[in-house]
């Protein structure tokens, strides 16, 4: 029992692309034929199938990394389908972008990219059920409405459950998505209501959901040793000693390539259990070949950054007005050097993938944020056709951007093919910390000036980052429109780069997670130099023009003023003078991922030890007119804010001799319960389409904390993580 879309309607759907004002689907909603086979259920399209008992199964299209997307995207479909949430079951889709459109978890993009499309998916399926009922009742579709999983004939009250219509939908053509009518948001019954994560019951009972939990009959376990200096080749290894360990099945060298987000050189050890494989690995005593980056270090980068700042910058990113002249004419001028370290993502589930190569076809189970490029990487590295590779998307034990790269996936595929059996590759925590694509470190050398009225009249930043000439490393760049660009008449950003062997990549709120720290801290310095209230100073800097700039880089200062005013009120900013000595409030705001966020932190510092207590965080957020799932939304914001606190207090990756010094949570600590403050969240709604929440709450909390420490102690934090020794009095 499968739905046959006619050739014409199917072609129309496949061709659909955004032209003019009418939103059309960016992907096909063709039925997935096999979905319904044997179950008695009817597939209405690739996302929706209805069973005779009225249970509606909706596919979760995107990778679930803890952002709640497996729940919130199906909520959008269920709303327009008009089915009670209790009747909905969710299944994780495989990686099949031809059926589901783009399937990735990144950039806080899932809600904005799917909001229109998935409402139409639900509405199209609903229209088909209405059409089936209308045909059976011999009345026009327009005479029917739906409610709670039923089609109702409006004038007679005749009612048919969706389940009872299953057999009647087979001949029904899907309507053109452009023609379906979407619900008025005031009628929403699911969207905007707090729904627990669909898998929460499985999570709390410890059921297997994650990549690490995959088990395949006959499966072996693998560990893979790579060079601490990124990309160095294997010079020698005692493979026989490893092979002699009980339970070890296979040991071999992988030649690998030069891509640091691909298959790298190393030694694979495969065993009956992972523990056996690890014991084998302990016997390898691998020696690594010399590598050109083996003398690089964080200390060396620091020295080079200072040298570059002393010379002429390599590039100009933006130049408005006359900064030198404005600095000369300013009432007060400041200079400050800021820096921040490399960071490791450290998702709690170490990287892993299970792979099985059989009869020319590769089957993969992977916790990936970005599975389709993973498939392509496996295809190109192993010489297998992409269509011969199946990628099952497992739940990810955290992502944070790390699993946008699929290096571990291609390793598992390679090792499985070499082994000739299904293999689960699992990294150690140390493997993960030594082979990340790190949040890049960076340096900012500022000059700024304010006039007698507290206006910022000059701003200059020499940004020293990583790259090769004008080409910056992944996620190491800075936009020319970052605030306060366009808000200061005399404004300049220059850039210089340092070559590095350290692979870098996006980490939750990439770019923003560092730039907010430096810019919002230096703004705070200017506010204090002007003798102004730091929050009022920011309002003045934002000005009274609501929109600044045009197109994708437009900055809605009005929305930022809105969240700033909200957080001022929430945090009791006006009463901050009554706080005890050694306690302060700090404020910061940042725009990223289409979200406007203003945050206040209250922190105290113990004078004898310099120990910081973060007492409270307030977050005001504007992500448009609709929060899809308030339960998940608040959780995301609280988690992002606490992650920022963790960056500020603890986290640092240090490069020594071309390799990462830190190895585990012993020397790369993360925030724990005792240091986690309460986080109060308020969503300020505005009449804009809904945008994502995974990332934009993180950036402002770091400068808000540092500014609170300044308010508490008079000491300015210009380098992360915060050195508490400098706070002792």
């Amino acid at each position: 029992m499968t739905l046959q879309l006619t050739g014409a309607s199917r072609r129309d759907l496949l061709k659909a692309s955004v032209i003019g004002g009418g939103l059309v689907l960016s992907f096909s909603i063709a039925a997935k034929a096999e979905a319904a086979a044997g179950s008695g259920a009817q597939a209405l399209n690739a996302f929706v199938r209805v069973a005779p008992d009225g249970i509606v199964t909706i596919m979760g299209k995107n990778p679930e990394i803890g952002q709640g997307i497996k729940t919130s995207l199906p909520m959008i479909i269920a709303e327009e389908l008009d089915v009670p949430w209790e009747n909905v079951r969710i299944e994780q889709a495989d990686c099949e972008p031809k059926l589901y459109g783009s399937q990735f978890a990144g950039g806080s993009m899932a809600t904005p990219m799917n909001w229109d499309d998935l409402r139409k998916v639900g509405a199209v399926a609903r229209a088909m059920l209405v059409s089936a009922a209308a045909t059976a009742w011999n009345c026009p579709s327009g005479d029917c409405k739906t409610d709670a999983g039923h089609v109702i004939h409006a004038s007679t009250g005749r009612k048919a459950s969706y389940g009872s219509l299953v057999g009647l939908c087979a001949g029904v053509a899907a309507p053109d998505p452009k023609t379906v009518v979407l619900k008025n948001p005031k009628d929403y019954k699911i969207i905007g209501k707090a729904k627990p994560q669909y898998d929460t019951g499985k999570i709390v009972t410890g059921q297997p959901l994650f990549g690490i939990d995959v088990r395949v009959p006959g499966m072996l376990f693998a560990t893979f040793e790579k060079s601490p200096v990124f990309g160095a080749k294997v010079a020698s290894a005692d493979l026989d000693a490893a092979r002699a360990v009980k339970g070890v099945r296979k040991v071999f060298v992988v030649e690998g390539g030069s891509r640091l987000d691909g298959l790298q050189p190393g030694v694979a050890v495969v065993g009956d259990t992972w523990w056996a494989a690890r014991k084998g690995r302990n016997q390898l005593k691998t020696k690594w070949a010399d590598h050109p980056t083996s003398k690089q270090s964080s200390a060396g980068y620091d020295k080079r950054a200072a040298e570059l700042n002393a010379g002429s910058p390599m590039q100009s990113l933006r130049k408005d007005g006359d900064v030198e002249g404005a600095l000369k004419g300013a009432a007060k001028t400041l200079e400050a050097a800021y820096s921040y370290p490399f960071l490791s993502h450290a998702p709690l589930e170490p990287q892993n993938t299970t792979a099985h190569f059989k009869d020319g076809k590769m089957e993969i189970w992977a916790p990936s944020q970005n599975p389709e490029p993973g498939r392509q990487l496996v295809a190109s590295t192993l010489g297998i056709k992409p269509e011969d590779i199946t990628v099952h998307m497992t739940r990810c034990g955290g992502g944070f951007g790390r699993r946008l790269s699929n290096d571990y996936m291609v390793e598992a595929a390679w090792i499985a093919r070499e082994t000739g059996a299904p293999v689960k590759l699992l990294w150690t925590r140390e493997d993960d910390m030594h082979h990340d694509l790190y949040r890049p470190a960076g340096y900012h050398f500022f000059k700024g000036g304010v006039d007698a009225k507290g206006n910022v009249v000059a701003w200059q930043d020499h940004f020293v980052t990583f790259g090769d000439g004008a080409k910056v490393a992944s996620s190491a760049g800075m936009g020319a429109t970052e605030f306060p660009g366009r808000f200061v008449p005399n404004f300049k950003i220059d850039q210089s780069t340092i070559p590095t062997g350290v692979p870098t990549g996006p980490m939750r709120a990439p770019g923003s997670n560092a730039i907010a720290f430096v810019n919002q801290s230096f703004i705070d310095e200017l506010a204090h130099a002007a003798g102004a209230d730091p929050l009022a100073f920011r309002k003045q800097l934002l000005g009274d023009k609501p929109m600044v700039g045009e197109g994708p880089s437009a900055y809605n200062a009005g929305r930022m003023q809105g969240v700033l005013a909200a957080v001022e009120k929430m945090s009791g900013w006006a009463a901050r003078g009554k706080l005890p000595a050694g306690t302060g409030l700090g404020v910061a705001f940042h725009y990223s991922h289409a979200g406007y966020f203003a945050e206040v932190v209250q922190a105290s510092v113990a004078p004898a030890t310099g120990k910081i207590k973060v007492e409270k965080v307030w977050v005001a957020a504007d992500v448009g007119r609709q929060i899809v799932n308030p339960a998940g939304a608040i959780n995301q914001v609280q988690g992002a804010a606490l992650e920022g606190i963790s960056h500020a207090l603890y986290q640092k990756i240090t490069i020594v001799d071309g390799a990462v010094k830190e190895s585990n949570f012993t020397n790369y600590p993360l925030l724990r319960m005792a240091d986690a403050p309460p986080v109060e969240v308020k969503f300020v709604t505005s009449d804009y389409p809904p945008t994502g929440l995974g990332e934009p709450a993180l950036p402002p909390v770091i400068p808000a904390l540092c500014n609170a420490i300044f308010a508490a102690t008079g000491k300015r934090i210009r380098s992360l993580p915060i050195d508490t020794k400098q706070l002792k009095t």
């Binding site: 679930e64 990394i65 803890g66 952002q67 709640g68 707090a194 627990p196 994560q197 898998d199 929460t200 019951g201 999570i203 709390v204 009972t205 410890g206 059921q207 297997p208 994650f210 690490i212 939990d213 088990r215 376990f221 009980k246 339970g247 259990t273 992972w274 523990w275 056996a276 014991k279 998702p347 709690l348 739940r395 990810c396 034990g397 955290g398 992502g399 944070f400 699992l426 150690t428 925590r429 339960a631 998940g632 608040i634 959780n635 995301q636 609280q638 988690g639 606490l642 992650e643 963790s646 585990n664 949570f665 012993t666 993360l670 925030l671 724990r672 319960m673 005792a674 986690a676 309460p678």
Partner: protein, 154 residues
């Protein structure tokens, strides 16, 4: 070497090297997948199980040291008088984000409540040392309070 282990009320046999951590015996040999691997050095607590009712990090506990002790994992918590209340509170407050650490958090919270039925914030701070990389600490704290009958908003 064959070890007889008391796991979740059953005697299970595992033929593993004596130095194999309990975590890997449970996961790879016995197929009990609730306890998770996060660090391997007893830092993160994702592998937390109960040994005779006390929360222990199974990633550093050699199977040879378990002896006849009762091993309890997240899989048995729905039959544990406190564990099931903790699970219900976790569900009720929708604590999890990625969920990977939560079995360990629930094991730690259950052991805490068994010893301290009405924990203060300070009790929670000192007992709940497991890492949640998604930082769901606000809701973990609230769920512990709720499971102990002390109501707090998440």
């Amino acid at each position: 070497m064959a070890f007889k282990l008391n796991v979740n009320g059953k005697v299970l046999e595992a033929d593993v090297d004596p130095d194999t951590p309990l975590l890997w015996t449970l996961r790879d040999t016995l197929g009990i997948l609730g306890p998770k691997f996060g660090c391997g050095v007893a830092q993160c607590g994702a592998c937390t199980v109960h040994i005779d009712g006390v929360a222990k990090r199974s990633c550093v506990l050699p199977v040879s040291a378990v002896g006849s002790a009762q091993v309890t994992t997240i899989e048995a918590m729905e039959h544990h008088p406190i564990g099931k209340k903790v699970q219900a509170a976790w569900m009720n407050l929708d604590v999890a984000q990625c969920g990977y650490c939560q079995p360990g958090q629930i094991m730690a919270a259950t052991a805490l409540l068994a010893k301290t039925p009405k924990p203060t914030d300070a009790d929670i701070d000192s007992a709940m040392t497991n890492i949640c990389r998604c930082a769901t600490y606000t809701r973990i704290r609230a769920a512990i309070k709720q499971a102990s009958g002390q109501h707090e908003k998440a």
